[in-house]
């Protein structure tokens, strides 16, 4: 049974008074992550909205020891810390339960500049949790494209809409043979909470990616973050799944879409509720380009359905 929102622990690791936008999906996600991890953890951040939100020196809005590291370095720096605390414990210089070492990183710091170091940390299976809060763009620098930006999407570096589909990074991480991979979404906090608890209790490299619809980049009203997150799942643009030791399981409502019990909603309404597809929707070739986006989603659903059948 999925934990319900009412059952989440009271502990708050995201303190009031941080610098995030109202309705920030990344901060909402982090709040749930904090409830699952508790206070015995060390947090690494790469340049991103999460850094811009954490409070300026000497203040800090996250209740963990936090280290800001170079943009390309989430994987390697997290490895450095996890090895450091493990060896210091072995040598008797640290007592008590080892802290969870986790990165809190955007899609830029995960899909793009950070991918090499992350891939290597996963291949070494170092004991870390890598979180990617995926707002499908570089929000902090004013909304530029990333490898997670979907096809057709306007960003300041894709002024006529991105021409390429996004990559499936969670699946790429799964192919590193790490013990735990999951996707999540801020509209399903209980599901996210359960996944973080599993990751915390699993040794080795864990990867959790959280879809984070950002009102600024996606251009919708900041009060609608949760509705937008839910809409992404309902149309199949975002699939909720987890893989323990390589075996993929879909979580509802994505499980129903994958099994065919419930059809995914057509993508049109999801696109129309956001400003970032406006130019495309108003263009002369709108029908064809919406069909391309729908095609990407359909292909991904079909592919993941088949991929999940491989259990060797």
């Amino acid at each position: 049974m999925t934990t319900s929102i009412k059952q989440l622990p009271d502990i708050e690791q995201v303190l009031s008074g941080n610098g995030a936008c109202g309705g920030c999906p990344a901060t909402m996600g982090l709040r749930v992550v904090g409830k699952a991890l508790g206070s015995n953890a060390i947090m690494l951040l790469t340049p991103s909205c999460a850094v811009a939100s954490m409070g300026m020196t000497p203040k800090l809005g996250y209740n963990w020891p936090c280290i800001n590291i170079c943009f390309a370095s989430a994987g390697s720096s997290a490895s450095g810390i996890t090895h450091a605390v493990e060896i210091m414990q072995e040598k008797g210089r640290l007592q008590g339960e080892l802290p969870t070492v986790f990165t809190w990183t955007g899609d830029g710091g995960t899909y793009d500049i950070g991918f090499q170091a992350l891939s290597a940390a996963a291949e070494r299976n170092d004991n870390i949790i890598h979180f990617c809060y995926n707002n499908e763009a570089y929000s902090n620098t004013g909304v530029q494209r990333s490898g997670a930006t979907p096809r057709g999407c306007f960003t300041t570096t894709t002024p006529t809409g991105k021409r390429q589909p996004k990559k499936n990074l969670a699946l790429l991480m799964l192919e590193h043979n790490i013990p735990y991979v999951a996707t999540a979404n801020v509209a399903y906090p209980g599901d996210l909470y359960d996944k973080v608890v599993k990751a915390k209790n699993t040794p080795g490299t864990k990867y959790i990616e959280i879809l984070a619809p950002c009102y600024l980049g996606w251009q919708f009203d900041m009060s609608e973050t949760v509705q937008m997150s839910r809409a992404a799942v309902r149309c199949g643009a975002w699939l909720l799944w987890e893989a323990e030791n390589g075996k993929i399981n879909f979580n509802n409502p994505s499980a129903r879409i994958i099994s065919g019990k419930k059809a995914a909603e057509p993508v049109d309404e999801y696109l129309m509720n956001q400003g970032r597809f406006n130019r495309l929707l108003k263009g002369p070739d709108a029908t064809q380009r919406i069909a391309e986006i729908q095609g990407d989603i359909d292909r991904e659903i079909a592919f993941m359905r088949e991929r999940a059948k491989i259990t060797v």
Partner: protein
């Protein structure tokens, strides 16, 4: 008390033995010629239990330094090593190490940099990192490499500034020389366990390297600039105490040879400076009053010690194994002139660049060059 052990070792292996003697906790590493043998030796020591540490086989040098700084912030004693393009690839993270005040110690095995490719020694790689806020030693023998790594950890951990220990590829890294390894209890007396004032600790949540406004940023930078200068007395103290405990001495900020009455002073770093002692002897035989001043510490540049050591009216022949692009000649000459200006107007500085990409620097060649420079 156990006696010191003397064995024949390469410079690279001497470095690895120093890492073991320093009881390092974490070593992230990535291979590059001619540094690779250090990493191989450390990996082997960790694997066979000789060194109780973690070796992290990262996927590149940016990650090597990124793992190093983070492990250091977590409170561990950290070492890594690199050369040439590996060092350049680390550049961004070198700034994080110094700005973050993390006492990482790294060997850079000097090698010329790409393009075009060369495997052989010159000093462009380390000197190109001049403004990264690291302390830099340059060593002239295998024994000095060993001794300096231990001194480097001590100085780094005293003032929370990372230290780069440089020595020449192949000439030092791959050549055998006798190496004295002092008994472990002597080393433990010299280098106490690392007890950082601050580390990433869930019992004390605080931010590290967070965003600042100018009123906080500027004082951080000023402090680094002041503190790196404050390394000079600590470098001297470390050299002296190392000598008191182990009996070994390589100089402190500078190392000199037949300098007191010299009229012609050779000025150079690394292995060529060891060879230059022999050039000095040749020149002396030829009736030229030659001497040597080797900055063992390149950064902070030991200005006062150099100013005080140079004999009256000396001609200083700076032999640079690097280019100061955009200026004629090399980097050391420019550094030296800037500290002498207005302080020692009696001194003449002359400069040649040589030994680039590993061109052999023999005693005779350098003696001839110095003699020729007298007419420059």
């Amino acid at each position: 008390m156990k006696a010191a052990q003397v064995t024949m070792e390469t410079g690279a292996h001497a470095a690895a033995l120093a890492v073991k003697s320093a009881r390092v906790d974490v070593v992230p590493g990535y291979p590059i010629t001619p540094q690779t043998s250090i990493m191989e030796a450390v990996a082997e020591m960790v694997e066979n239990g000789e060194l109780h540490a973690r070796f992290i086989p990262v996927e590149g040098e940016h990650s090597a330094m990124a793992a190093a700084v983070a492990a250091s912030a977590a409170g561990a004693r950290v070492f890594t090593a690199t050369s040439a393009n590996g060092l350049l690839y680390m550049h961004e993270v070198l700034h994080m190490a110094s700005g973050g005040r993390l006492p990482v110690v790294m060997c850079n095995v000097n090698r010329g940099i790409f393009a075009p490719w060369t495997l052989w020694a010159d000093h462009q790689d380390s000197m190109a990192q001049r403004d990264t806020g690291w302390i830099q030693y340059h060593c002239s023998s295998n024994q000095e490499v060993f001794n300096t790594i231990l001194q480097a950890f001590r100085v780094a951990e005293q003032i929370n500034i990372p230290v780069m220990v440089n020595f020449d590829g192949f000439t030092i890294s791959h050549c055998l020389m006798p190496l004295t390894v002092p008994p472990q209890e002597e080393i433990d007396r010299f280098l106490p366990p690392h007890e950082p004032e601050w580390r990433l600790d869930p019992a004390h949540p605080s931010s590290f390297s967070n965003v600042t406004n100018a009123p906080e940023y500027a004082p951080f930078r000023q402090m680094l600039s002041d503190d790196i200068m404050a390394a000079i007395p600590l470098v001297k103290q470390a050299a002296q105490e190392y000598k008191d405990i182990t009996g070994m001495w390589d100089g402190d900020t500078i190392d000199t040879y037949r300098l007191e009455d010299a009229e012609v002073v050779a000025f150079a770093v690394n292995s060529m400076a060891a060879e230059l002692r022999l050039s000095v002897d040749i020149l002396r035989e030829q009736g030229i009053k030659a001497g040597l001043l080797r900055p063992r510490l390149y950064l902070p540049f030991p200005a006062e010690d150099i100013i005080n050591a140079l004999p009256q009216n000396a001609q200083v022949m700076v032999l640079d194994r690097n280019y100061n692009f955009g200026h004629p000649g090399g980097i050391l000459a420019a550094e030296l002139k800037s500290v002498l200006f207005g302080r020692r107007n009696d001194i003449t500085v002359k400069n040649r660049v040589m030994g680039i990409g590993g061109i052999d620097l023999t005693r005779r060649f350098m003696a001839d060059e110095i003699r020729a420079m007298m007419d420059d």
